[in-house]
Symmetry: C4
Subunit: 248 residues, 4 copies
């Protein structure tokens, strides 16, 4: 018995190019290298999402975007291989209707915060979304010894549970996930989480055990509001750089 592929919904013009551009932007910004991925919930079909096929993000083109349902099955007659860890995306979209876009990376400055039991805090206004809290997902707690990958729906659900209602979740000995209500904001948050990690490393070293004047939770709420504008401005810059590189 074969499972029938879900049929694809038409994708608005330009959207695949924007997702491919987002992949390249994350590579340009040093957030992803040869690994990592970004996805977008389908604007007309909330139970579908769009995501590149398994490949280095810096090489993604508009033709490389797959459509998947929330079980992470590729829609239509498309035999190209998806990312092993697409379940990060499917299960967070299922658990969080408000999430429209997701980035997964192995951001090098962020990984230490998943290993050293020191919580990430918001160091500046552009990373204000972190002031809500930055949980750490430790796959050992539910699954014991594993290959650390979110390669099925059970692990995806466990990660989505660790994310809860926050915007970012760290993955112990692996990387991080940033989410957002738009593609632009998810990309912006992935970049700013990396920047914030670098700032926090140096701030903690400088404070040498003393107090640090990080954003309070209340400041975080107020300071995060202008970030949707900031993310749009950053997107304009970063998107243009991709266009200059690729022509699309």
């Amino acid at each position: 018995m074969t499972v029938k592929s879900p049929s694809p919904c038409p994708v608005p013009d330009g959207l695949a190019a924007d997702i491919a551009a987002a992949s390249r932007i994350l590579a340009h910004q040093g957030v992803v290298d040869a690994m990592g991925h970004v996805s977008l919930r389908h604007p007309d079909a909330p139970d579908r999402f769009l995501m590149p096929r398994a490949m280095a993000p810096g090489l993604t083109t508009p033709d490389d975007i797959l459509q998947m349902d929330l079980d992470c099955t590729t829609c239509g007659d498309d035999s190209r291989k998806g990312f092993l860890e697409r379940f990060i995306h499917g299960e967070i979209y299922r658990a969080r209707p408000d999430v429209i876009s997701i980035v997964h990376s192995h951001s090098t400055s962020v990984i230490p915060f998943g290993l050293a039991r020191k919580p990430m805090q918001a160091m500046f206004h552009n990373a204000a979304f972190l002031a809500r809290g930055v949980p750490v997902h430790d796959i050992r707690q539910r699954f014991g010894t594993t290959d650390l990958l979110i390669c099925d729906c059970h692990r995806g659900q466990d990660l989505a549970k660790a994310l809860g209602q926050d915007d970012v979740v760290l993955m112990r000995a692996h990387g991080m996930v940033a989410t957002g209500p738009t593609l632009q904001l998810a990309v912006f948050r992935a970049v700013m989480t990396e920047v914030n990690a670098r700032i926090q490393h140096w701030t903690l070293t400088l404070a040498d055990g003393g107090e640090i004047d990080a954003l309070s939770a209340e400041e975080g709420v107020l300071a995060d509001a202008p970030n949707s504008g900031a993310s749009a401005r950053a997107w304009d810059l970063w998107r243009l750089r991709v266009r200059q590189e690729t022509g699309w």
Copy 2:
């Protein structure tokens, strides 16, 4: 009742290009990213200043420069949107007649010094201007919980007061402001403050609580004098790189 826009004063040839170039230089030097801004007091009208419209600094062109009065109202029939934080500039120009140019950035190495209660000191001669002292503006002290932005004249005045007679002021959980008697020197100081921050981080780590041989206040005065020449040489290099990129 509508407020009448102040009328613009003619801008000398080449000045808008230099301000746009300064924006791009700061982006090239890693001092600004998609955010941040630089301005110049109008050479013929001290109650006016020139500043790019709200956009990523790395994309600024000579056509993007707005003229504003010290209340931060755009002059003439120009409906393009200014930066939300233009009040940083207007209020410092008002409080400090000697200041001719201002840079605002989210310089990543500098932010920790606004969070960790360790004062910045001058680590080398090119950053000698820091030896006068580097105050930190904490917006909470007067305004309590905010979005951390200098988005009106009251907050701008509070920041200008924290700057006092110094050249640089740090902004807690936000960034910094560098000022100067020329566009070249304000840009140079913004860059050297970032470089100095990196050097101080490593010097403090190396000293591990021991003494460090930073510049004294007296050395700072003497060593800062040659920096106007140094800033001119740096400007020649950096300005040329922009010309090679843009043609202007």
Copy 3:
């Protein structure tokens, strides 16, 4: 009496280009600079290996690849000079039949772990191969005061002994060696060892003497399995960049 050169075995098409590309990839990734080298065991003659002549890795071309036997004598009528430290390669290939490719570098983030008596640990899944253990070769133990170079077969044998059955060995006050069952995986491991070193530096600073949740040996075994796929994806990206630069 002259020693007769061993005769060369034919090299499959494209292999020399891939080795030259690997040299350039390591330069692009900041793992080698003007020094360092990568080699590949001959696919049809296990007692031979292919390696660039002595030159900066970022300049290597397919015509620069020499063929050597395990005594590190160049095969055929080829008078071009090999690297002084080719004995790193020859003796590891002799001691470890499973090793097909070797990288030697002076990776800056890695060197401290050979000096400070803190063992390297695996910080994330892409560096899971480190969880087996990362020995340090201290040339002083057998050879006393030297120039630190692996410039003959005796020193090469001592290094191979320190490597044992692991994938990576650090060289005190010198650099490191990464090995792999394919060219792609040796390159990937050399890059990921450098990345892992940076992450571990910050993790240890952040933990400040407290526990860190590094990969366990068991997680290392499971998490390393998918890295051959990951290395292939990284290779696709990195190899393309070389092709764009060189045309081959």
Copy 4:
């Protein structure tokens, strides 16, 4: 009464281009920025040296090279302005007949070792020349409060005295000087001193007060011998990059 300029000696073909290239190489390697300079003793007139006019090193061309005597007076009918700190070069050439080339930089990773009273040590073989010792020149000891610049022969002599018979001297709150028996080796040492500084920062942090296995003085002597070959290989790479950029 006017002082007569010393007459210039003919400069061998290609030498001015190599000095200009050395300036650009140091900029490419991040050792100098808009400031810093490199010089070469005249091969046929040991009381003369060749050095760029005062300008950003990254812009130097073969036409920008001045000839000076050891009093730092420009030879011949040449009114172009030399660097304020040319006395670093003149006085070291006078005091050290074995020195053929000199680099002065504000290398950011190196400056902390002039401020924090922790001696620099050789961390790896390519920086073995540091194992002889790395003195720090503190201009305050003889001249009290100054602008920190080596802008006359008295200060130059004091710096040369601090250098003594070593290869590198740090300048408190300012930068460093690297010397060598060839242009290639002076450039190599300037670059490797910066790299070594980065490695030592991380090594000391990692060791956290414990012992580190730096090169001994004896190892330093042996390990420095092959660096003249290494510097030639590095020069081939770096010189080619300049040729690709400039055509000369």
